[in-house]
Symmetry: none
Subunit: 249 residues, 2 copies
DNA sequence: TTTGATTGATTGTTTATGAATGTTTTTGAT
DNA sequence: ATCAAAAACATTCATAAACAATCAATCAAA
């Protein structure tokens, strides 16, 4: 048996049971104990599993589930800077919508103590909003467990009862031609509806979303202002269509 | 059995019962008392549980980061038994309402895998519903941060779009004269409205709520059936007014 | 044939475990 | 409140299992 094949088998076995003894792996692969140990060393080096006395286990057995607030997100520093500026636009007395998503989530600590009303479809936002003593309305509707967002026709209908001074929306792609795009149809519908109900409209996107296109378009560039840390090319083209606030980390 | 597997099992057991004796853990894992003690030391070190004389418990509610599901609740065993029976009444295809509260929360693990639709106003229920792969609608409205419940006129209006095969409601007080009572006006309104929208109506209350009266009455005894572990006096008087299922721990 | 890499066996070392020890804490009776 | 018994505890120690390190054998490529 070849080395890569054997290591694949090891990974598969460990993943399957969440844990595997050396003896099991010897039996499964037909290799010797020494070889298995060497494989485990390598696989741990690559971060694919965790060695424990007696065998191996998957990497994160102890810290089972982290809420989204605790998850490590890409470009966290950048998102925080974007969110901080966005939050600075919110004035006492405002009624605002905060979209589900990791960038908008970062706004919440910066809203602390403000006398505002927040509506959100992001379930993972609720704890943070609570901690920061912000008056919160949660959107009703189907819970999309994967992302912790509230979606569906019921949510749209519920949403239409509100009017917002400002809304803060995330996006997965931004281009000059296609505007703002996102992969999920139901979330796209929420974003679209929200934009229609808001006086001031902000899209929060980090640099990695620029010049990318996702499956569904939910708005033209001109419909909302952008808050980002992007400073790359085509900036002039973007600026012809809408206002952009560029923040630096 | 490998260390991580054993420790996972310990965590799972402790989480499930909110508390576990060393002897139980010895039995469950098949390890010796010494090993269990060492594991508990480590797990406490990692902040995953709390050691107490005689065993371990989940961490105190003092650290705010725990969801309600993990908080220590009084009469947990009893509530679990009540909830288990309640969940057994739910059949595939049902649309049900689950009220916010610690007793109703305990139903969720017993709903695992059922092909049902759940509507809830309990935000702390959402994670558990997610984990157990139950299709969930969250009620929209004002988030009452103290209890993690959705309330308010908007919530009532949102609620009225639904019709339920069954509803499972909590209460803080039950008496023959005053029926079901609860301290919070807004939550009372939710309970009342829900009862009106449901075909089968169940109130889940542990023994400590019997012959107690809270501030607001939200229903007469005859309006709903009771699931409880109460076996005290006046049972005949209660039975004249409604059906009571008594469960034993 | 030589070189380098991989393997499996052997070595002494380290680690996890469970039993045994005496100590502390809890409990219940006075 | 006080004391004695029981339960739970921390600590120690011996042992068996798992370990890292080493080395010779094997195999493939140069």
């Amino acid at each position: 048996m070849l080395t890569p094949e054997r290591q694949q088998l090891i990974i598969k076995t460990v993943k399957n049971d969440h844990t595997a003894k050396i003896k099991q792996l010897v039996e499964v692969t037909g290799a010797s104990e020494s070889t298995i140990r060497r494989d485990l060393d390598q696989l741990e080096e690559q971060g694919l599993l965790r060695r424990v006395h007696g065998g191996a286990s998957i990497r994160n057995p102890a810290s089972e589930e982290l809420s989204m607030g605790e998850k490590i997100t890409k470009y966290h520093k950048e998102k925080q800077a974007i969110a901080k500026f966005a939050a600075s636009l919110v004035k006492d007395g405002d009624c605002i919508f905060i979209d589900a998503g990791s960038t908008t989530y970062e706004m919440i600590p910066f809203l602390k103590g403000k006398n505002i009303m927040v509506v959100t479809n992001g379930l993972s936002h609720l704890d943070a909003l609570n901690e920061n003593k912000v008056m919160t309305y949660v959107l009703g509707g189907l819970v999309k467990h994967q992302t912790g967002a509230v979606v569906g026709p019921g949510a749209i209908k519920n949403l239409q009862q509100y009017r917002f001074d400002q809304c803060f929306i995330g996006a997965n792609g931004v281009t000059v031609e296609d505007g703002f795009t996102t992969p999920d149809p139901e979330e796209a519908a929420i974003k679209q509806t929200t934009l229609n109900l808001s006086r001031k409209r902000y899209i929060l996107v980090d640099h990695s979303k620029f010049n990318e296109v996702a499956f569904l378009r939910f708005s033209d560039l001109s419909e909302a202002e952008i808050i980002t840390n992007y400073q790359g090319k085509s900036m002039d083209d973007y600026l012809k269509k809408t206002n952009i606030k560029v923040v630096t980390t």
